[in-house]
């Protein structure tokens, strides 16, 4: 394919994945000083830190492609809610530690094959990011899968909580594998990742780990969508109010 690639498309694509990383890192950071043990406090912060790093790379690149003078912070902090294109899964709140584990695991099982595939993008910047992020996310997946197994196969209470979290969040997993027009254009150009094609790897990981965790895999029923179009849950507004607080209260300053 030698179609002329629209830079704006690549910028939108980078922002979309940056949003997943940023919003998930925000939810992880909410555990600060609140995790079940000190070691886990540090581990969750470590994941959050990796995700912020990924978001920064993606936003900075998007800003360069746009050429309108937006830097990583203008993109991260000054958009309207409708312009955030993260998946609904990553914005779901920390109901309890089991939710945090389930959200992380369901996302990591997706983002590992995603970044592995992105590593062969024809876009050199995205490919380099894919390679780096895949290494980080491999560790994230190990961490979240270990917890899923421990909690699923731990006590009656932890099993019940873990199953409830998986059941509740399952409805947000379908959206991860939907290709929209932007995806299709970039797949055709050899730049984007075919999300539908990641489903079988995700299925394998999820089934294997759920089984080891003695948890039931929920049926694939109705799936919630909207995040990729900027239609979010009610939680998102509060998350952004906090995330954007400084840039909204003190616009156009250097920090």
């Amino acid at each position: 394919m030698s179609a002329v690639i629209d830079k704006a498309d690549i910028a939108s694509y980078a922002i979309r994945w940056g949003d997943d990383a940023l919003i998930l890192s925000h939810r992880l950071a909410e555990w600060c000083a609140d995790a079940p043990e000190l070691e886990e406090d540090m581990a969750l912060m470590n994941l959050a830190l990796d995700l912020v790093g990924q978001a920064r790379t993606l936003y900075t690149y998007a800003g360069e492609l746009e050429g309108r003078g937006r830097d990583e912070d203008a993109i991260a902090f000054t958009r309207e809610e409708r312009d955030y294109k993260n998946a609904l899964l990553v914005e779901q709140p920390n109901e309890d530690f089991a939710y945090a584990v389930a959200r992380q695991f369901l996302y990591d099982a997706f983002s590992l094959p995603f970044y592995q595939a992105l590593a062969s993008s024809k876009d050199a910047t995205l490919a380099a990011l894919g390679e780096k992020a895949a290494k980080e996310v491999r560790y994230h997946l190990k961490h979240s899968a270990d917890w899923l197994i421990r909690l699923g196969d731990g006590t009656d209470e932890s099993h019940r909580r873990m199953q409830a979290a998986i059941d509740e969040l399952w409805t947000y997993t379908g959206e991860l594998f939907v290709n929209d027009d932007l995806d299709r254009r970039l797949i055709a150009a050899g730049i984007g990742v075919d999300l539908a094609a990641l489903k079988s790897a995700w299925n394998d990981t999820v089934s294997t780990v759920l089984k080891e965790a003695t948890l039931q895999r929920p049926a694939d029923g109705w799936m919630a969508t909207g995040g990729r179009e900027g239609r979010h849950s009610e939680y998102m507004g509060y998350l952004l109010a906090e995330l954007q607080y400084m840039q909204r209260a003190y616009p156009n300053m250097k920090w």
Binding site: A33, R56, S158, Y250, W255
Partner: protein, 337 residues
């Protein structure tokens, strides 16, 4: 570290003042005097062991509680770069807590016991973390002043007589000095910013300056009528757990920090502050020991909040820790079968 409050209050009889005339005690003191390191398996006086457990565990608790006021701004950091720096810093502080609990465990006490003492309110942590972080500038003030004061306190402890503590301090000091530079750099950005940013910085400085000076603890020599002077300071000096007096460290901190504040365009909130050419030090005004004592006994702005959050996090996490133990037991059983 956050040594303030680590001194043992008057009337506390839980730590015996040693009679140092046994053969073992004399040999022990001779080793200390020769600047040898004491290691976990070595004989040590009970008072030495207890003093160290108390000091190291209070230091560990301070690192852990200190994650709260700084964590308060992670989700609101103004830029992604600042967010990442703050996340890494708070993560470091958690790591300091872990090394220090391990160092305390070498003295024959478990981390669980120590955490229990924190949660039931019988163990202290540094009072500095009982002050609130009200604006973003407070994050700069903490890094610059609190980590800065911590370094002053800790550098001498890298030569502490107890090996595991001294080694933990060496590692921790490196990271604290990194935090101090990052805090100062945050302030520097504000000092070059808008009028609002400058006002935010001055306000944070006004609120953190005196608490930072209090971090060095009560006066060593004068004692005071309030009954907060450490009785055990001398003993700790002799054992080389403590190597420099509170007042010397505080003076050093003032001497180093005042020019930094001036460079930022800050006004030090002390009408008595004046360079003394004769002594080669800054003279500064009296510390409000009444405030110090009040925060120490629980009346600081955030004492209740900090402890409540720690307790609630611990309680909320109980089912997770139980599950992890249950799983480990099952796994061990399966592996044995």
């Amino acid at each position: 570290m956050y040594t303030q409050g680590l001194d043992i209050p008057k009337g506390d009889k839980s730590i015996p003042v040693e009679k140092a005339d046994s053969a073992e005690a004399l040999r022990f003191q001779a080793r200390i005097d020769a600047d040898e390191k004491i290691e976990p398996k070595d004989w040590m006086p009970e008072g030495y062991r207890k003093t160290l457990i108390r000091q190291i565990s209070q230091h560990a608790h301070s690192e852990v509680i200190g994650m709260q006021p700084e964590g308060n701004w992670i989700t609101r950091a103004p830029t992604l770069r600042r967010k990442a720096i703050l996340m890494a810093k708070v993560q470091d502080e958690g790591g300091h807590g872990l090394y220090l609990y391990s160092a305390a465990e070498t003295l024959g006490v478990s981390r669980d016991e120590l955490v229990e003492q924190l949660l039931d309110g019988s163990a202290k942590y540094s009072s500095i973390f009982n002050y609130p972080t009200l604006t973003w500038a407070d994050i700069g003030a903490i890094g610059w002043l609190v980590d800065g004061a911590a370094i002053m306190n800790q550098i001498p402890l890298c030569r502490c007589s107890y090996g595991p503590y001294a080694r933990a301090m060496i590692r921790i000091c490196k990271e604290e000095s990194f935090h101090q530079r990052q805090g100062y750099e945050l302030m520097l950005a504000l000092s070059r910013g808008s009028a609002e940013q400058k006002a935010m910085m001055q306000d944070a400085f006004d609120r953190w300056w005196w608490p930072a000076l209090m971090m060095f603890g009560p006066h060593d020599t004068k004692g005071d009528a309030e009954g907060i002077k450490s009785q055990h300071s001398e003993q700790s000096m002799k054992w080389r757990i403590k190597r420099v007096s509170n007042d010397e460290l505080r003076q050093k901190f003032v001497d180093v920090t005042v020019p930094q504040a001036e460079y930022l365009g800050l006004k030090v909130p002390d009408p008595h502050l004046k360079w003394n050419a004769e002594t080669g030090h800054y003279d500064f005004g009296p510390i409000d020991w009444n405030e110090f004592k009040n925060v120490l006994i629980g009346n600081g702005p955030c004492n209740k909040k900090r402890l409540k959050m720690r307790r609630e996090a611990h309680e909320r996490g109980a089912w997770v820790r139980e599950a992890a133990m249950a799983y480990a037991a099952k796994k061990a059983k399966r592996n044995a079968a």
